[in-house]
Symmetry: C2
Subunit: 238 residues, 2 copies
DNA sequence: TCAAAAGTGTTATGATTACACCCATGA
DNA sequence: TCATGGGTGTAATCATAACACTTTTGA
């Protein structure tokens, strides 16, 4: 079971893992027009009941990236999650018991894929909307704030936003995602023109189901053009 | 005296500092139209004679940012250097003796300010042009490559490039800096229009001295607009 | 007087913005 | 039939790219 770096695991895990460095992970999801993050609750110790970012220790034989992937998998059961390192957070007083530096990561998951792993209950892990985040343990509010800025930057430079959407999506869903992440309003018509002009999307022969208005065309993204744009970046200046 | 993380200091410094984490720093300079980095030479141990990035240990009571500033100051004598963290490099085999994770930083210095510190000789530290970097110790070539990419990104989003130039500079010097960092050619006329249009620069009542052609007007940047643009970013899409 | 760099001006093209408008569909 | 979102069209404005041109100055 994944733990957030807590007072107990500090004492228990020293022998089997790197003992001055942890991983903390901001997991983003997008649901009903809202950007959310997955937080976990401390079970024991002095921070009992408080929420924080999921995290844990780095094993002696694994890279930090591997450690982050492993922790994510233990929590969500998902492989192949989009994951990027943020940076290291190294304030000497960030962790109360002793000096621990943490490496921040952020992940983008499709909410349709997400299922809480056995070992976790609804009271252990919960999605929080980005604008109603509680007071978190240690420096986790700072890490979260940094991750949001980073997401806003990255989303305008590479087509990573798709990792938050279902395989098939409508143009307006995509636009709402950008509006929510960037905190701005966009023009429907101009957005359509711009995004279609990039040739990144493939129109499907399918329409939305079960909506109480005109059904919109569904799109997916072209994986070939996606990798091309991810490598050389793109300019999404809204 | 600054050390790059070497086999000796691993053994000597364990008691006084964080022993599984180091700092490595890419120091960029701009001289005669070329982008350069400052490398230091290993004095002892199995990597004797090889070049690497300057780096060192993090003291128990200092933040990672403070550690990077301290190491830079010990090496160059400079305070107030422009410094940004890159990310943590955490491959389990990156350091040969045992598991050490390093936090990469990059710094931008004005070559006019730079003076090698007492304790260093010319054979200890040397500027290398970006396109003739030797084979470096550990994963330092990887860290350097990453820092160049990061510099290219940042330079197009915030006016940080000025940290590499003297206080007073001509528009063409600035343009050549961008050309060198981004590895592209630019149009003089279009560059002038674009950069002046941003209102970031202040024209001085001074001209270049001692040039064998028409002397160019000197500029400095407006610190107020500079901070504004640094906060909200700018778009330098060349 | 010539080379070298400083500095200005012009035009075509394309992207961006701010709209207004029509369409399809379930309640 | 009306509310809701889906989808199209257009004109004004602005940024960019490519280019030719003039000016200044030391050697």
């Amino acid at each position: 079971m994944v733990k957030i770096e807590d007072e107990d695991s500090v004492l228990k895990n020293e022998h089997s893992a790197m003992n001055a460095i942890t991983i903390d992970c901001v997991i983003f999801g997008f649901d009903k027009g809202s950007l959310e993050v997955l937080l976990v609750q401390h079970g024991e110790g002095i921070s009992k009941g408080k929420w924080g970012l999921p995290g844990g220790w780095i094993l002696k034989k694994e890279s930090t990236d591997d450690a982050a992937h492993r922790l994510l998998n233990e929590l969500t059961g998902l492989d192949n999650i989009y994951l990027e390192q943020l940076k290291a957070f190294g304030d000497p007083d960030r962790f109360p018991l002793r000096r621990v530096i943490t490496i921040g990561y952020y992940a983008l998951v499709k909410r349709e894929d997400y299922n809480i792993k056995a070992g976790f209950t609804a009271s252990d892990a919960k999605w929080y909307k980005i604008n109603s985040i509680p007071d978190l343990i240690y420096d986790h509010n700072e890490i979260l704030a940094y991750s949001i800025k980073q997401l806003q930057n990255r989303v305008r430079q590479a087509p990573i936003g798709f990792n938050l959407l279902p395989e098939k999506f409508t143009l307006l869903q995509l636009m709402h995602l950008y509006e929510e992440v960037l905190g701005i309003e966009m023009d429907k018509s101009n957005f359509r023109r711009k995004i279609l002009h990039m040739k990144l999307l493939v129109a499907l022969d399918e329409k939305q189901q079960d909506v109480s208005h005109r059904a919109a065309k569904l799109f997916k993204f072209d994986p070939e053009i996606y990798t091309k744009l991810t490598e050389k970046g793109f300019n999404f200046e809204f």
